[in-house]
Symmetry: C2
Subunit: 456 residues, 2 copies
Amino acid sequence: MDLQEQYEFFLQEENLLELPDFLNELNISDVAQLIEERWEDASSIMAMLSIHRAASTFKILELGIQKDIIHEMHPLKTAALLNELPADDRTSFLEELSPKAVRELIKLLNPEERKITLSLLGYPEGSVGRLMTPDYISVQADWTIAEVLEHIREVGQESETIDVIYVINDQGQLVDDVRIREFLLSPPERLVSELTDSRYIELNVYDDQEKANQVFKMNNRVALPVVDNNNILIGIVTIDDVLWVANEEFSEDMQKMGGTEALEEPYLEISIFKLFKKRVGWLIVLFLGEMLTATAMASYEHALDKALILSLFIPLIISSGGNTGSQASSLIIQALTVGEVTLADWWSVMRREIISGILLGTVLGLIGFARVMIWSQIFPDVYGAHYFLVALVVGFSLIGVVLFGTISGSMLPIALKKLGADPAVSSAPFVATLVDVTGVIIYFNFAYFFLKGTML
Amino acid sequence: MDLQEQYEFFLQEENLLELPDFLNELNISDVAQLIEERWEDASSIMAMLSIHRAASTFKILELGIQKDIIHEMHPLKTAALLNELPADDRTSFLEELSPKAVRELIKLLNPEERKITLSLLGYPEGSVGRLMTPDYISVQADWTIAEVLEHIREVGQESETIDVIYVINDQGQLVDDVRIREFLLSPPERLVSELTDSRYIELNVYDDQEKANQVFKMNNRVALPVVDNNNILIGIVTIDDVLWVANEEFSEDMQKMGGTEALEEPYLEISIFKLFKKRVGWLIVLFLGEMLTATAMASYEHALDKALILSLFIPLIISSGGNTGSQASSLIIQALTVGEVTLADWWSVMRREIISGILLGTVLGLIGFARVMIWSQIFPDVYGAHYFLVALVVGFSLIGVVLFGTISGSMLPIALKKLGADPAVSSAPFVATLVDVTGVIIYFNFAYFFLKGTML
């Protein structure tokens, strides 16, 4: 029997009493899956779970279901659930709600949890402060190992991870981090100070979450201490939260690169109207930009009139520029995202893209040249007497357009980042549009250069 | 003084003796940074580190530097380094090398490490087996807590994480996982079996790494046990390795979406020639596809000849299809990647994209219609007497092209996945090319429909 069938089985009148036991025996990920498949039963399933398991389940549900559950559950139960949630997960849930809903929910918290939540919400969105949890274990350097282990036994249940214990001084400043294994592997009478090496890695509460990702990647830790500007330890960030953020960031980046606003809800669950709203904005902007191609073409109408053959290659030429441009922009966005390229590298990037652009353009230019030469032998009527000149126009235009595509594709994300914007925002379609318009101009200029006096 | 300056200082003759101490005092991430900035000194810096720190540093370096170091270091030192590397990191390093280099390096391992490495390399690329490490702690259900803690003290140094301890039976099969905190919080005379609840989450050694990412996200663990098909525990996967993989996957997906092969090296470090090779392939394919636009246009030359005005809107129309197409494809690729959409959902996706396409197309179509109507009043010479019909052609073509763009943009990634290919591969530019060609055809068909008997 799969999960659904088992659930149906316990839903039957005669087995109903055993349903809570069944639910409390499941892995929380299975409970979460069940809730997502039986959205309509979400709040009643939640109500049957022990409060601790309810909280663990709640935090891995999709935002839409989370909102529904909070909305439908009895306020007392909601309060218990919110109080039980780890502070970091509670913060990231509240982050997604309207300010009004946040105010309502914060009222449900007990004074201590309220204080913690408000302080976490006080840090800027996207900062490490929003990710951290105040549930960690700190000890002082003059304690013995035995005292530390006793302390862990007392407060360990609250802590999100006890893999690493933090050593602080009288002022609460971070002095070191020590892995729990060091304590376990040492004799109980030794002092904490004998285990410290003052080599630790910390995050600042105002650091970017993106930075936290990098630091975790480089340092093989499951949790990192977070300090304020006075080096006072105020929380920890655990790697699983960073993995969540990384996955979300990635989704957003992909959506933005494709020219949509970040959906923030799963594709199949977002309403069609919202989906439309998230997409139409950029499409209109790009469409208005693309209109310039019509204006540009109109100004070359005279040339088109005389040499209609030129019109055949317009889509080919401008889209080649667009393709190279989106290639370059996605390469650079990716490199910026993972920190391989920084703003200071713009000139190295430019140099590489100029060389790449010339190489790529030459390859496409040669193919384009060959295309015109070969077709002109097969269809001499269409291509006319000056086919060689037309082939030159096509070939050189391709070099020019591809070069322009690589340069603008690589520089736009850097410029956006420099201006403080997200480099991923619509870069690929934006570059394509820019290159389409300039592509028309480049093409007709080469046409005038080569065909002046013959066809034009 | 920054890192570089400090290093320069110790490089001076009179301070050289203190250089190893300086290096051994640094955080390993700082050492790694130093090595990346002083690539030429990489192997000599590595030689000065204690072997344990050398291994920790090595595993976070870029592949290019890793190869150089292995190449330049004394074979004895290389052997020591490889033996010291955690098995999972060693495997992922070897994975990147040529089979010949792997054979050479495996010879340097001691028999035990060789056995471990060969067995890890025996699992398919991209599988959990390649990520796992055999360094974990397992205990049996009939042990006391005191025995467990004693066991941890004995073998804990070897283990990659001791946050979770695994309980196995006589056959080596996984029975449960217990967090170390449970042991620390319990009296020493209790039995392990009293702490177990038989609720555990495991990975199969043949599972996709992508799946491991999902399981970690959903379950708030720092490590997960890996079992073979007989449920025998053979290793663990730690979350930091999954974070690495996730970051790499994201980078590859982004590059592929932009129409490049995955670079596999940082953008600024890859040679220009390699960069060119990775990019030119898809550009040529797309270019050959795009040539069909010229063929399509040639077959409508007669129409263009009679109504030159039609040529003005070609870039506008085909690129609008391309933009909506890349929007749709990046939305669907993202949803497929995170598992929000599966192949079975294709019809739901299609339905949503048809509705979205009609809505988006209508908006752009109305703007396009208005554009032609307004300009025709300003430039009556260019637009001629039949401007209203031209405006209708533009408007309806936009609806058709946008609809075609959303449908093909959303279905192509699903079809690629169905065929076993990576849905991210060049989807956006590929869809753009497909839509360009069909866009021309759609446009001229609407032109014939509306203008037959008047302009055509």
